[in-house]
Amino acid sequence: MSDKLNPDNGELVLTSVHRLPTKRSCLVKRGLQLIHELKRREIRVLSNLSTMGEIEAFFPELLSMIIQRKLGSKFALRVMFTSTPYCKELLKLAEGHVFDIFILILNNIIFPSEKVPAENREKNSLQLVTHLRTTYRKPVIALYGWPHNPSYADKAKLAGASFVFQTPFKSKEFEEAFEKCLDMLLRFDEVPLKRLKVS
């Protein structure tokens, strides 16, 4: 009630009502900075989807749509989609940048030697899943299309994949899986590691 305007410059001479003590104002400032960090946050997806021409453009769009739907426009997180079909390059990218989600099409990863038998490629893919999960502890969504190997989904899960889909799969199921990954990321939960086993 005793606040006054300074007659010389017209500025308000404040009482202590809304001048926070410095200690508290520091904590408030940190909170504000944290909000800006949260708002700037991107969901960074690393994938080998580029091997599937028509899906290449579709997936980033789908993921953006899911995020928009889930979080609304103001706080919508951006999707940064990075993709390469080559295992070596994928590993290099994962090492050099921070990614939040890995989406792998297991039978389309190009390994250094393409002459290796299919059986070995399947095994290499699982090893890649395990490597990404144990090193970066982020969700891995695995897609595959090896109908001759019905137990592959179980193997992929044992290798550490958070969600496994055999093609063809329903888009809605994929969307639900992606939303679950987002929930984990937004809660900043560390994705729990299961007992991993590459068979």
């Binding site: 005793s2 006054k4 909000i35 900043f188």
Partner: protein
């Protein structure tokens, strides 16, 4: 036939009547703006307490772990003056954060939601007791004291106390108006000037309050709430993550210190 004797108002009476009407309007406006300001301040205080309880306390915990890390590193490098300095700074920061986070824990209130009757009562008090309606310093001091009590009662949502303040005022001699048109006119003109000045101060105060970091933080959290998001919880989780990382780091350093 009876002649009705009509007494015309003197010019000063007409002026007084006009000024009284102007003052009444300004008093209404002043009461409303005081209410707006008090509500804004009470909301900010309640939000601050909530923020410090949910997020601030976690920052205090994080700063304490960071201070322990810096102290452990100082012990590992006893001859390093930079490590000494960093440890002292980190401990000071941890102490400050702990003080700040603990300051409002006891008075923590979830949200300030004044009832309509509470607002009405406050508006009434502001209209009648406002210090800027006083004509001398003694009366002003008395009004200021009552108004401060009314502000606290409003922030606490204590309707009975507000009613008691109003009753006390109504039965005091200060509420009795003086006599004489000329004197009254002077009083009213001065009151108008005081009320206008106070209105100007309130506008500036609200404007400044809306520019504070606390208000910006509160606005962000409220916007997120409108979109169904609990931003304070998200912030808390983010700081929890930082706490977990810092704890891991501290564990590693502690183990290293134990082996050396």
């Amino acid at each position: 036939m009876r002649n009705k004797i009509m007494r015309c108002q003197t010019p000063e009476e007409r002026e007084l009547s006009r000024k009284l009407s102007e003052l009444a309007g300004l008093e209404e406006e002043l009461a409303q703006r005081e209410l707006d300001l008090a509500t804004l301040q009470a909301e900010s205080n309640a939000f601050e307490a909530r923020y410090l309880r949910i997020v601030g306390a976690r920052y205090a915990e994080l700063d304490d772990i960071e201070a322990q890390i810096a102290e452990a590193q100082r012990e590992l490098n006893p001859n390093d003056s930079k490590a000494q300095e960093q440890a002292a700074q980190a401990r000071a920061q941890a102490w400050e954060s702990a003080q700040a986070a603990g300051a409002t824990q006891e008075q923590a209130q979830e949200k300030f939601k004044p009832s309509e009757s509470l607002k009405k009562l406050y508006r009434e008090i502001a209209k009648r007791i406002h210090p800027d309606l006083a004509l001398d310093e003694e009366a002003r001091a008395r009004r200021e004291q009552l108004m401060a009590e009314a502000n606290s009662a409003y922030e606490e949502g204590d309707e009975a106390k507000l009613q008691a303040i109003l009753n006390e005022w109504e039965s005091s001699p200060e509420s009795v108006k003086g006599e004489g048109v000329a004197a009254e006119l002077v009083r009213v003109i001065r009151k108008i000037a005081q009320v206008k000045e106070r209105l100007r101060v309130i506008e500036t105060e609200i404007d400044q309050l809306e520019k504070t970091d606390l208000y910006k933080l509160k606005t962000e959290v409220e916007k997120a709430e409108d979109e169904g998001r609990d931003l304070l919880a998200e912030m808390a989780s983010r700081v929890d993550e930082q706490i977990a990382r810092a704890s891991n780091k501290l564990d590693k350093i502690t183990r290293r210190r134990a082996t050396t």
